[in-house]
C-alpha cells in the first residue's frame, strides 16, 4: 500500500483524475446541505441572466440559478453511475466467474449471449428499454446496467480463466476445495484490481450515457436537475443565452475526464499489463 502511494505521487494523470473526482464528489456532497439558491426556485423576472456576482453561472429560462442546479445535478450523475455500475458489476462478475469456473455449456451460452448484446449499440438498448418501460431516471439506470452486465462478465471471465490455470489454484483444487470456495477465496481477490479499474471506466461511460439519455428526454424527468436535461433546455435558448449551453456540458466533460484519467492511472499503478474493454 505504501508502495502504491509512493508510485501514485509520480503519476500526474492519476493525480489530475483524483483531484477532478474529489471535486465532483465534493460538489455533490456540498449540494446535499447547501446551494447558493434553492434549486427549484422559479424567479421568472430574473430569467436567462448572464454570469453575475449573485448568479455566478447565470440563470436558466425559468430564472433558476444554474450553479445550484449543476451542483445538485452532480448527485444525479453519481447516483445513476453508482447504481447502474453496481448492478451491472455484481451480476456480470457473478456470471463471468461462474462461466470461468464451470466451463462447458455455461461458458458457451454466456459468451454467445454477450456477443448478442454487443451486437446492439448501447444507445439503442437504452432507447428500447425506455421506449417500452417509459422515460425516467430509474429506467435509464436499468438500461445502462443491462449494458454493463456483459462488459463485466467478459472481463471477469477472461481474468478468472487465467487465474484457474495458476499453480496455487491447482493446489487448492488438489486440496479438495470446491469451485465456489476457490472462486471466493482465491480467484476474486486476485482479479480485484482488473475489476476496480474497469468499474472506474464504466462509471465514466455511465455518466456519458445518462447525459445523452437525459438530453434526448429519456432520462431523469423535470424537476430533477440533470446535466443532460439542462443542455436540452439550454439549446432552445442558444441565441438569447449561449452561456447556458456551456456549463452543464463542461461539468459532464470534467467528471468523465476525471474518472477516465483515474482509471488509466489505476491501471498503470496496479498492473500495467491489464487489458481493458472500452465500449461506449
Amino acid at each position: 500500500m505504501s508502495g502504491f502511494i509512493a508510485r501514485s505521487r509520480r503519476h500526474v494523470g492519476f493525480q489530475i483524475g483524483a483531484v477532478l473526482l474529489l471535486l465532483f464528489v465534493g460538489t455533490a456532497l456540498v449540494s446535499l446541505v447547501w446551494t447558493p439558491f434553492p434549486v427549484d426556485e422559479l424567479r421568472m423576472r430574473y430569467k436567462l441572466l448572464p454570469s453575475s456576482p449573485q448568479n455566478l453561472l447565470g440563470t436558466d429560462h425559468l430564472g433558476r440559478d444554474v450553479l445550484s442546479r449543476i451542483m445538485v445535478g452532480a448527485q444525479t450523475s453519481i447516483a445513476v453511475g453508482l447504481i447502474s455500475v453496481g448492478i451491472g458489476m455484481s451480476l456480470g462478475v457473478a456470471l463471468g466467474a461462474w462461466a470461468a469456473a464451470r466451463g462447458g455449456w455455461v461458458d458457451e451460452a454466456l459468451s454467445r449471449t454477450s456477443d448478442l448484446i454487443f451486437a446492439f449499440p448501447a444507445v439503442l438498448i437504452a432507447i428500447l428499454v425506455t421506449s417500452v418501460l417509459g422515460a425516467s431516471a430509474r429506467n435509464a439506470i436499468l438500461a445502462i446496467a443491462i449494458f454493463n452486465i456483459p462488459v463485466f462478465a467478459r472481463v471477469t471471465r477472461g481474468a478468472a480463466l487465467a487465474m484457474w490455470s495458476r499453480d496455487f489454484v491447482r493446489a487448492a483444487t488438489a486440496l479438495g476445495q470446491g469451485p465456489f470456495g476457490i472462486t471466493w477465496r482465491h480467484i476474486l481477490p486476485n482479479i480485484a484490481s482488473v475489476l476496480i479499474v474497469q468499474a472506474t471506466i464504466q462509471f465514466a461511460v455511465a455518466i456519458l450515457a445518462e447525459a445523452g439519455l437525459s438530453y434526448l428526454g429519456l432520462g431523469a424527468q423535470p424537476p430533477v436537475p440533470s446535466w443532460g436535461r439542462m443542455l436540452r433546455d439550454a439549446q432552445t435558448y442558444i441565441f438569447q443565452a449561449p452561456e447556458l449551453a456551456l456549463w452543464p456540458g463542461l461539468a459532464v466533460a470534467l467528471a468523465v475526464l476525471g474518472l477516465n484519467m483515474l482509471g488509466d492511472g489505476l491501471r498503470d499503478l496496479l498492473d500495467p499489463r491489464l487489458r481493458l474493454m472500452r465500449v461506449g
Binding site: G13, F120, P121, V123, S131, A204, L208, Q235, I238, A245
Partner: protein, 315 residues
Amino acid sequence: MLDFLSRRFAAALVTLALATVVVFAVVEVLPGDPALVMLGTEARPDTLAALRAQYGFDQPLPVRYLHWIGGLLSFDLGNSHAYGTPVAKLIGDRLAVTLPLGALALSWAVLVAVPLGVLAAWKHGTAGDWGVMGFTQIGISVPNFWFGIVLVLLFAVTWQVFPSGGFPGWRQDPRGSVVALVLPALALSLSEIAILTRVTRSAMLDTLREDYVRTARAKGAPERVVLFRHALRNALIPVTTVAGLIAGFLIAGAVIIESVFRLPGVGQLVYDSINNRDLVVIKNVVVLFTILVLAVNLLVDVAYVLLDPRPRVAA
C-alpha cells in the same frame, strides 16, 4: 479464405436471428398489450380493437413473429402508425441522411486519427506524444452532443458560417445538404478520432519495434518510407478492426447528434417514434441498426483477410 468468411457470415446470421427474437420480445411481449402502449390508457375499446386487428396483435405470438420476419425478408414492413406511410420507405428516406453523415464522420476520423497516431508513435515519449495523448483523453471524455452544441455556438451563433441545424434535402439543394452535414459529422467524429488515434499509436509502437523496420532503416530507406510503407502497413490491421467497431457506434451516436442538429435521419425517426409510441417503426429500425452493425463487422472480416493472410489459414 472463403471457408473463414462463410463461417463468419453464418455466425452473423445466427446473431441476427436471435436479435430479432429479443427485439420482438422487448417490443411486443414485454409491454403486455402493444395496442395499449401505442394508443395510451385512455383509448376507447373499439379503437384498441381496430388497431389490434390492423397490426395483427390479436393473433398468437409465433404467428405474429413469423409474419414480421416474412415481412422483413420481402421488405414489406407494414405501415407506420404515426405517419401512415410504409415503414420501408420511411426508413429508406431517412438512411439518405444518416449513411452520408456516418460515412463523412468515419472518413474524417480516419483522415485525422491515422496521421496523429503515426506522429505520436514516431515521437514516442516527447511533448508531441504527450500532447496527442492528452487530446485523446479529452476526446473520449467530452460528450459528442455537447461538442455539437459548442460547434453551433462557434460556427452558427458567433461566426454564422454554418447553419445551426436543419437539412434542405438532397434534391432541392445538394450543396446546402453537404454543408448541413459538416458540423454534425465533426461532432460525431470527436470520440472516434480519439479512440482511433490511440489504436494507431499503440499498433505503430508495436510494429516500429519489429526486426523488419530495423532492417529497412539499416538499408538506408528514407524515414517516410519506413514509417508509411513498412510500419504503418502492418499497423493497419488492428486499426481496421477498431474502425469497423467504431462504425457501429457512429450509427448509434447519430441518434443524439441528429437530434442536436435537427437532421431528418434514422436517429430522429427513432426518437420521434418513441414519442409517438410507434412500436412498428421502432422494432424495424432497431433490427436495421443491428443489420448495419453486423454488416460492418463482416466487412471488417473481409478487410482483415485482404490485409493479413494468417486468419485465412488459422480459422
